[in-house]
Symmetry: C2
Subunit: 369 residues, 2 copies
């Protein structure tokens, strides 16, 4: 395909072109070894050096304190829903969860299988249009942790603050907004994220965990699911997803070259603001999320005339604007604009949206007037 | 690197050059979509079609009966050590295991955490030089399964028969010899294999499971670890390791082009036989495994003078023969000669070994005579 495309897929998501080019170039001869990075042992010196460098780059980018371990695991956030519970519910067996949407629901359901779960805050009443604020939370001081989803990929709802749960550690699913803006890691107990949005390819999961939280696992936790075992073995307890780890390392270096998280956050904010502004200025497009909780990463929107959905998607695709269809559970459209989505992609989308609206909606209004 | 190299790494292992070339070529534009296969949704039509085709190709290659599910999972064999136990110990809670070496030990240790494990056969007495034959097995007719390791990657010990355990399902770790020779899948309950030897890149795990064995999981089995949930969702319960699945599909197609497992088995047998013959004909090299249980995939050998190990490895590498160092637990050398290792690689290795022996050993013998 020769036309420039912009891929708005929610995940597995677009990767930086610069990274893909480099990966392609060295795919069959990595570090002049005559073999692919996929074909080297994870215990070989070149691989271990690359792996350690990737971890250090992530530490640099997120300013991760020394008392946190960084783990490169498998299984995705869905595995973490059980793994966090199994690893952390060994004290009181109680946990608080904040209900913010589809991903939080999955975490709550799985956590409830392993402990006594309370809902500390709930967006159900407001139709998942804003997250509960600190004053609205009902916190259990004996909870082993407070879990929440920092960004709901499907709902397009993002936390605008870090809850204060006192001494109760915060455990967060940061799959879809990790690395998108600066955060204070020291405020969290466990941060986990599937790689396939802002980190790399599917099949890699990053866990950042405070080192005092690895001893309270439930007795039946599989050996390969105990965070401690991975921490003690530098994530090489067993063969890690070596290609994903390598590619994540390339993305971390790319992000450093962009100026780090602080710099990408400015671009992310600008991208999101102009897209929401375009939606808000139009009577044809709309987004239901409260201003303070609108996601910078996933922008769902609907068309005033849903019968135009298919035409919208078809014409967008013809313009190289791919995968704008909303999640099957909510319908409409969704533009996922992660770190690797160039600002030009958002600009092109906005221009297309205006054009589509002008052609279809205003003319329709005139016709029906 | 311009010299042709042959990579004898035990895993992550060498991949077919033809596959790597094709993957490299389409890395940034898959199926003319303008994006990488890593950047498309696993729920998109092109990806789903590719995924289904990969499964069908594996079914064709292994002649997998219809009453078996094929799952594309994460976590490696190490995860399966716990996952098989958690999913299958829900009836009697008892299981038989055959002890054949390092990988069997890991499976036994993990299985013992979830049930009452008996050792049905044990190679400890013979120094792990041969597997127990049928008549030597002590089988528990009430066991939920009999587990064994079809090929010990480190020890170089391979089963030369399929045990008969009556109605007790066989559960096997086939990580290092899956697809290497024809097997009768209908004789097994569960076959699992990490991809990084004969299938594709690390981070993908294949499970082939008889469909009546998915209901007896222990109550605390994580949702994402219940085989049934993956079977019900065509391995897309959550985001699968999409790139690994794709690459495995390419390897399956390559294997079909070679004439399937039947054809590759002939080559594998020839490769192994000539390498073992070279070892046996020499007084300098030796392999301790009983003839009937010598692995076709992993050929460990030692030098009569271990002080020559470093020189052997260095000179081999200079000849493009990479990663021949034996596992740290056993020392010596190991040549892993999986499907993707060309016969020319084995020939080059044999020639180098003869040359090295001639230069170093005979001359030394003469000097000391």
């Amino acid at each position: 395909m020769n036309q420039q495309v912009f891929n708005f897929c929610a995940g597995p998501a677009t990767l930086p072109q610069e990274v893909l080019k480099a990966v392609q170039q060295e795919l069959r001869d990595w570090q002049n070894l005559g073999v692919s990075v996929m074909e080297v042992s994870h215990r070989s010196k070149p691989y271990e050096a690359m792996a350690a460098e990737a971890e250090q780059d992530l530490r640099d980018l997120m300013h991760i304190p020394d008392n946190y371990k960084v783990l490169f695991l498998q299984g995705g956030a869905t595995a973490q829903f059980a793994m966090t519970a199994m690893n952390l519910l060994g004290k009181s067996g109680q946990a608080d969860y904040i209900q913010t949407g589809i991903w939080a629901t999955k975490a709550i359901k799985e956590g409830s299988r392993y402990g006594e779960v309370s809902i500390a805050g709930d967006c159900t009443e407001n139709g998942f249009s804003r997250v509960p604020q600190q004053s609205e939370l009902t916190l259990n001081p004996n909870a082993d942790y407070l879990h929440y989803t920092t960004n709901e990929t499907i709902g397009g709802l993002e936390f605008n603050y870090i809850p204060d749960a006192g001494d109760v550690p915060l455990v967060v699913d940061m799959s879809s907004n990790i690395l998108s803006r600066p955060i204070d890691v020291s405020r969290f107990g466990v941060i986990y994220a599937g790689a396939q949005k802002n980190i790399g390819p599917a099949g890699l999961t990053i866990v950042i965990i405070r080192d005092d939280l690895m001893e309270q696992f439930l007795p039946f936790t599989p050996t390969v699911w105990q965070y401690k075992n991975h921490a003690d073995n530098d994530s090489m307890l067993n063969t890690p997803p070596t290609f994903g780890w390598y590619l994540a390392g390339q993305v971390f270096k790319w992000l450093k070259r962009q100026g780090g998280i602080e710099a990408i956050a400015e671009i992310n904010q600008r991208k999101a603001q102009k897209l929401y502004a375009a939606i808000d200025q139009s009577e044809f497009y709309s987004n239901p999320i409260d201003l303070m909780n609108r996601s910078w990463m996933n922008v769902p929107f609907v068309l005033a005339d849903e019968s135009l959905n298919a035409a919208f998607l078809e014409q967008a695709e013809a313009r190289g604007l791919l995968n704008l269809k909303g999640h099957r559970s909510v319908g409409g459209m969704r533009a996922s604009i992660y770190n690797a989505m160039p600002e030009a992609g958002v600009d092109t989308l906005i221009a297309f949206m205006a054009e589509f609206e002008q052609k279809n909606w205003q003319s329709q209004t005139i016709q029906t007037a």
